[in-house]
Symmetry: D3
Subunit: 231 residues, 6 copies
C-alpha cells in the first residue's frame, strides 16, 4: 500500500499523523511526505534549518519527502494553480491512501488551504483530459483522510481511531527533529496529551483520530474487529 | 460473529438493513432480530398477520427472531424500563455488532425511541451492578450501527457503505413477506431506489449505508481495501 | 417568468435540474442556460463535442444556452472577476428565478465555485454603482435555488420538492444528448434512481429537490396546496 | 382551508403566530386554537383568569379555541399518552395546516414537548389501526409549520416568511388580552421588535417567520411570486 | 457567590469540573454539590461505599453535598417529576452559578437526563406559581454552564476555559477518593490528559472547558482581560 | 485597552457594532476603525461622499479611522496579499480586542472576506518571521469578536451580549452620518429593531450580540456578574 501525506509546514505531519505513518512503515507500506512550505514565516528557524529538520523527521518516520512550492508559509492559497500542482503529486506517487490537514476554518490558513486543495486534487487526479498534467497518467485514490494538527478540539468526533502506542518513541523522536520549534511553545506536550486522551478513551496508551472524506466501504461488518468502545 | 438487529415494527429491519444481514448470514455469521412491536397501529394487517409476516421474512434472511413488548406500536417510549428490557436482550444474545433504527427526529416516533434505547442499552449492558438484569452476565458489544428505514435523506452522509447487490433477490423476497404492507404504499420501490442511488454512487448495483455510533478503530489504514470513491 | 440556470460543466444542468426546467418551459416560461466551461478536463469528449452535446440538450429542454469562459473545466475560481462576469449574465437575462449548483464542499470544485459565485452575483446584480457592469441596468432577482448534481446525499433535506414525472421522457432524452459522458459511468442511473427515491417518498413517480437560498415569502399558508407528506 | 394551531400556554400562540392566523381568518380560512395548559405555574394570573384571557384573544383573532389537559403548566411530557391526545385533536379538526411551537431545546420545556408531540401526532393521525382513537377517522394533514414564541434567535433561519403588517393592530389587541402577563415583562415589545426586524429585512413593516417540518412541494417555481430578498 | 453543581453519579463532578470548584472555594465562594444517584449500577463499589467516597471528595473540594433520589443509577428520566425535584434544589440553595453535566446524546443516559433537567429547573425556579414547590420562594440564577464528564471530544468547542493548574493536587485527591472506581478503568488519566491538552492549547498547565447555556453578558469588552489564544 | 474594528464598507461598523464602541470610548478605551473599501459599488453616494460620511461617523463614535484599499467595494478577495495588509494593520495598532464582520456565507461577499481575512491576520500578526511585514513588530491580540451587519438572523446565538441602551442616541447619530445610504432602504430601522429585540430578551432597552472566535478565558466564574437570562 502507498500512502501520501501532505503537510502545510515542515512540522505539521509530525504533530498530526506521524505515529500512524510510523506504524504503516513498520507494516511494510510505502509512505511519502509532501511538505507545502518551508516554514518561512516562523518566529524561530530559517527555511534552510526547517527543511533540514523535516528531512530528519522523515528519516525517523521511514518516509520519503519532497517539498512543494505553493508561494511560501502563510501565502498558500486555495487556487486552481495550486490544485494542479497537488494533482501532479498524486499522479506521481499513485497512493492508495492520502492524508491531509483538516479543513476546519479556525486554524492556520495554510492548514485549511492544503486540506481543501488535497481534497480537490484527489478528485482531479482521475480526470483523463485535465490540461496541465497530461504527462502523468490519471490515478484514482482509494481513501482520503484528514488529520488534526494542534487543535485541542475539532468540530466533530473522528471517524477513525488508531492505537499508536507502539509508535510513541519514534513519534517523539520525529517531533524532536524540529529543534527550532521546540524553543517557545508546548506543541509536543499538546499533541501527546491529546493522543493520551483519545487513547485512554479507547483503552490504550495513545491513539490518533482521523476524519474520513467519504463513507468507509466495507465488505462485511466483520471487517473491523476492533472496538473504540471502552467506557 | 453475532449480529443483533433491533426493529421498531415488523417490517423496519427488512426495509432498512436486511440485505446486509443476508450477506452476513451467507458469510457464516449468526444474526438475530428483535422486533419491538407487532404493528398494532397499521392501517392494514392485524398484529397476528404481521407477526407471521416478520417470522417468514426472518426465515428468508436466515435469522432468528424474537418479539419484545414495549407497549405496542406508536406507544414505544424512551424510558428507563424499556432501556432495561433492551439491555437484557443484548446480554442474552451477546452480539459483537448491534444494529438499530437511526435517531433522527423527523420520522416515526417509535423509530427514534428504539434507536435511542438501543444506544443506551448497548452501554448499560456492560455495567456489572445494574439492578434488574443481574441474572444475565454483563456484555460489551464491539460496534453499534444505525440504519435508515424509509427516509429519502438523513441528516448526514452514512459512515459506512456496503455493496448489497448479491443480496437483492433475497432482499426483495424478505420485503415481499410483508404482504399486508404492500397494498397501499411504495415502500419497496423507495428503499430499492435509494439503494440503487447509493450503489450507483460507489459503482455497484445496490448499496446500503450505515451510521456508526463510535469512531471505527482500525489497526492499519490497509484494513479497508475497498473504496467508496467512484465519481 | 424568466428562469436562468447556471451549470459548471456541459452536463450538470441536465443531471441536476433539467426536468424542472422542462416543465417550466411547458408551462410557458422562458428558460436560459449559462454553462461555465466546456468540459475540457473530461476523460471522454472534446470541448467541441461537449459544447455540441449541450446545445442539443438545451434544444430538448426548450431553453436558450450560452457559454461563459471562467478559465475552463477544473479551473473555475471563486474570484471577484468571475463574480462580475456572472453578475453581467444576470443583468443581461433579468431572471425572476436563478438556479445554481449547490455549494456543499465535498464535490467537484467547479460546482462549489459556481454555486458561490452565483449566490454573490445575484446580490451584486442590484447594486447601481458596481464598476465594470455599468452598461447593464441593475436587476433584482426574486429567488435563488440550488440543485444537486450527482451526489447521492446532501448535507440537509431539500427545501422544495417538485414532481417531475411528466418530464421523465424528455429528461432522459436531454441526458442522452451527452453521448461522450455515457460511456463509462452510471450518472444517468444515479440521478434517475435519486429522483425515483424522492418521488416515492412524496407519492409520485419522480421528484427533484431544490435548496432555497432565502426564506420563501408567502402571502398565505394557502399558497402551497400540495403536500410532500406521503408516509 | 382549515388551520389548527397548538399553543403550550394561554399566550404562546398570540406571541408566536397570531398575526398569521388573523390574516388567514380575514382571507376566509377557518382557524382553531388548542391550548395545552392554563398557565398554572405563572407568577401572575390564575388559571381561570388566563383561560378567560385566551378566550378573549381567540375572539380577537377570529378563531375557535379549546383547552387540552396534558398535566398542567410546566408538567407537559413527551409521552405516548399525550401524543394520542394530540392525535385525537388533529383527527377531530381535520386541518390542512398545523402550527406548533418550535422544538429547539433551550426554551420552556413545555414549548419543546408540545412541538415534538404535534410533530408525532401529525404522523399518527393517518394510521388506520391506531388503538385509542378508533372513533375518529384517520386524517392526513398537508403541512406542519413551527413558530417561535419569545426567543430572539432560533438555531436556523425561517423557511417561510409572511408579511403581517396588515394584522398589526389586531395582533396587539390579541396580545393585550393577556392582561395578567403584561405586568412584569417585555414580551410584547420583544415579539413586535422581532417582527419589525424580520419585516425590515424583507422590505415590509412587520413579518413573521415559520419553520417547515417537510420540504415544500411546488407545482412550479412560479407558485411563489413574492421575494424575501430585499437588501 | 453561591455555586451549585449537579452530578449524575457520585464521581461525575470530580471528573468533570472539580478543579473549577476547588478554585472558587479558595476564592471564598460557597459551593454545594447535588449528586443524583448513588452509583447503584456500577461494576465496582456498593451504593454505601460510593456515597461515602463522594462525601470525602466533597470535603476535599471544600463543598457541601446532598444526594437526590431520582430513581437510581441508570434509571434517571427526563420527567416532569424529576424536573420539580431539581427546581426545589435550586430554590433551596439559591445559586448564582449552576453547573450541570452536558446534554450531548452519545454518553451515559443519566448524564444527558441530568443536564436537561437542570436546564429546565433553572428556568422553572423563577416561576412564582409553580405548583409543588410553593414553600420555596422563586429564584433566578445568573448563569448555567455545562461540564463534560469523560468524553474525549464534545460536539463543539467550549465557550469558556479556566486555568486550573493551581488546583491540580486537590483535584487528584478528590478523584482518588473514589477508590472503588479506580480499579479497572483509566478515567483519571483520561480527564487529566484532557485537561493537559486544553491547558497546553492556552499556554497553561491544566485547563477545564465549560459550555454556556446562554450568551455571556458583559459590561465592557475589557471585562475579560485573559486570552485563550496561545498558538 | 485598544480596540480595532474592521469594516468592509463605510457604514458596516456603524450598523454592526458602533454602540459597543461608543461605550468603550466613554469608558476611556482607545478605538480605531479600519474601513476596507469606499463603497464604490453603491447605488447611492460617491466614494468621496462615503469616505466623508465614514469620517463623520468615526468622529461621533470617538474613534480614529483609516481606509484600506483591498481592490474596492464588491472586489475584496480572500487572498494572501489582502491577509498581509490586514496583518500590518493589526501590528500597527496593536489592539487587545479586534472586531470583524461575521463570516456566515449568505451575505455580501465583502463581509465574508473581511471576516475571514481578519481571523487569519489576527493569527499571522504574531509570527516573527512573516515576510512582508518585518518592519512592524509581532503582536498577539487578546480577543477576536465578530459582529453581524444587517442580517436579521445568524446561524447561531451570539456568545456575548452587551447592553447598549446608553449609547442609543450617539448610535443613531453615527448611522445618520451615512446620509447617502438613508435614501432607499430601512437599514437603520432593521438594526435598531434587532437591537431592541435582543435587548428585550435580556431585560434592557437595546443590546448588541457578538460572536467570539475563541473560548473566553475566565479567572473565576465570578468574573461575569451580569446575566443574559431574563425570561
Amino acid at each position: 500500500m502507498n500512502i501520501l501525506a501532505f503537510g502545510p509546514h515542515p512540522d505539521d505531519i509530525e504533530f498530526g499523523c506521524a505515529p500512524v505513518l510510523i506504524q504503516e512503515v513498520a507494516a511494510g507500506h510505502h509512505v511519502q511526505l509532501v511538505v507545502c512550505s518551508r516554514g518561512e514565516a516562523a518566529s524561530s528557524g530559517s527555511p534552510t534549518e526547517r527543511t533540514q529538520e523535516a528531512r530528519q523527521a522523515a528519516a525517523v518516520i521511514g518516509a520519503g519527502i519532497e517539498f512543494l512550492d505553493l508561494g511560501g508559509d502563510c501565502r498558500i492559497e486555495y487556487s486552481a494553480a495550486a490544485r494542479l500542482l497537488m494533482t501532479a503529486q498524486i499522479r506521481k506517487f499513485r497512493p492508495h491512501v492520502v492524508l491531509a490537514s483538516s479543513t476546519g476554518e479556525n486554524q492556520h490558513p495554510d492548514h485549511v488551504a492544503v486540506g481543501r486543495l488535497v481534497r480537490d486534487a484527489a478528485r482531479l487526479a482521475r480526470y483523463g483530459g485535465l490540461p496541465g498534467v497530461e504527462s502523468l497518467p490519471p490515478h484514482s485514490i482509494t481513501h482520503l483522510y484528514y488529520y488534526s494538527i494542534t487543535q485541542p478540539f475539532e468540530d466533530s468526533r473522528p471517524d477513525v481511531v488508531i492505537d499508536v502506542s507502539a509508535a510513541r518513541e519514534k513519534w517523539e523522536a520525529a517531533i524532536a527533529c524540529h529543534r527550532s520549534q521546540m524553543r517557545t511553545r508546548a506543541y509536543p506536550e499538546l499533541v501527546l496529551a491529546r493522543a493520551r486522551t483519545l487513547g485512554a478513551s479507547i483503552g490504550v496508551e495513545y491513539a490518533v483520530g482521523l476524519w474520513a472524506n467519504d463513507p468507509l466501504r466495507l465488505n462485511s461488518l466483520a471487517d473491523i474487529p476492533l472496538s473504540s468502545r471502552h467506557f
